[in-house]
Amino acid sequence: MSELTKKIAIQYQGIAKAFDTPVLSGIDLSVNSGEMFALFGPSGTGKSVLLKTTLSLIVPDRGDVLINGESVYFGNPDTLNTVRDIIGYVFQYAALFDSLSVAENVEMGLSERAIKEMGLEAVQERIWESLDLVNLDPGEVWGKFPAELSGGMKKRVGIARAIAGRPEILLWDEPTTGLDPVNTAAIERLIKQLSEELHVTSLLVTHDVEGGLEMCDRVAMLEGGKLRFCGSPEGFRNSEDAVVKAFTDRRAANAALDILDIR
């Protein structure tokens, strides 16, 4: 394996997926190790679908995903288990298990093998640490059920579950959707803080363009199932592409409605 390949944590190769209509039409994208990468795009353009192909939650019609150089779809059958061990996934609406308490939800983020190796005491310590890292009071929320938590707290528990296994890569699927501006800012600060403290590679799908541009090392934009932009935040801000501009400028957004034929 070359030095260059080692540096790439996630590599999407020609990912194509159609449901009733084509959603992704051959996406090639790489995220470097240790990088924070944001993915923007209009609703329904396949950002979450692309994210889900990483863990085979949605299987692409064509293409492959490489994690640390290992093929998810055409490699060793055990690769997927390994990949799921080293990737934490934060779902849009947290996707907490309703019948489990907060502590049990976070424990689910640890693999069965890890639970056996660590032992009960170390597992409980890890759950406590993970809740603490997402700025929740473990003593207060430990035995509570998801129905007893606010939207912001649910998101934090979802993040605690994703980081419980101390992953190398974190995938964030619109983590600030449905939150008020204060909670949005708090979650964004948490994303940056966790990415730095845990030294993880982060791929963030978000509609909050300003937040993404501030936090991330590189950004990309999907539109019409294709990659419309990939580069630095500065490059995104200064892009002359009308559709890209629409994401940073309200007036340009109105002009883009005609270009994208949105009524």
Partner: protein
């Protein structure tokens, strides 16, 4: 126009057959995965016991109530139709054979479809549309091992026990009802019951219960995991699941006499 008229119904029929084959194939694969998980001891015994409590023990009151009413109705209707033409002790045989061979297992299955099958589909369907199933996969857990297998195994254990209880209560209420409405005492009731009794009958009843205990949760889990489209999708899939479970139970019930009573 003529061509499309001829093509329309046949296309619709082909689509239905295709859908049925898709369901059958997916249920077959689910059964294979469940068997594999059970053989490999990948199913938590704690989860199975919890489901036995939720599915089996908590269903006892409603199952017994339904069985008790069935015994009373069978006894009274049988008595009304036959008391002038047949010896009254024949009622013992009519009640016992009706309850054990047919009413006990089938009615218990229908009650369990409403109480447990619909619940499993709605629960797993909600988990599917709220991404909880995806979350399980993302943390390296298999929903078949964690969610499906404990429910199916618990139902396979619970169903024969519930049917055995339902049979006993149905016979008991039928006997008491015959005593009050026809003046048929317990001794003559059981004399009549023994006249047409085969030692195989109880096994036949429990075998039916066992097959129903596999079919109901298997369909419920399969439909739950196929759910799409939010709250409306959960409602639609749950309805489809209940219809499919009832039809399947009736088909299995219809297959039993030619397979096991000839």
């Amino acid at each position: 126009m003529k061509f499309s008229f001829a093509r329309g119904p046949s296309l619709a029929l082909a689509q239905k057959v295709n859908l049925l084959a898709e369901h059958a194939g997916q249920i077959g694969l689910l059964f294979f995965d469940l068997s594999l998980a059970s053989i490999r001891l990948r199913v938590s015994s704690k989860a199975i016991f919890r489901q036995v409590y939720l599915i089996g023990i908590q269903s006892v009151p409603i199952v017994l109530l339904a069985a008790g009413l069935v015994g009373i109705v069978t006894s009274q209707q049988g008595g009304y139709q036959m008391q002038s033409s047949l010896p009254v002790y024949i009622m013992g045989s009519i009640v016992v054979e009706s309850v054990i061979l047919e009413m006990g297992p089938v009615l218990t299955a229908i009650v369990m479809i409403g109480r447990v099958g619909a619940r499993i589909t709605a629960e797993l369907g909600t988990m599917k549309v709220s991404e909880q199933i995806d979350a399980l996969y993302s943390v390296g857990r298999d929903p078949v091992e964690v969610l499906a297998a404990p429910r199916v195994l618990a139902m396979m254990i619970s169903m024969p026990l519930l049917v055995a209880l339902a049979n006993m209560v149905g016979i008991l209420t039928g006997m008491v009802s015959a005593q009050y409405t026809l003046g048929l005492g317990a001794e003559r009731f059981f004399y009549g019951a023994r006249l047409f009794w085969h030692s195989y009958d109880m096994f036949y009843s429990l075998l039916k219960a066992f097959f129903f205990g596999i079919a109901i949760p298997l369909i419920a889990v399969h439909m739950g995991l196929r759910t799409r489209g939010g709250a409306e999708g959960v409602g639609r899939t749950t309805t489809e699941s209940v219809v499919l479970m009832i039809l399947t139970i009736l088909v299995i019930d219809a297959m039993f006499p030619p397979l096991f009573l000839q």
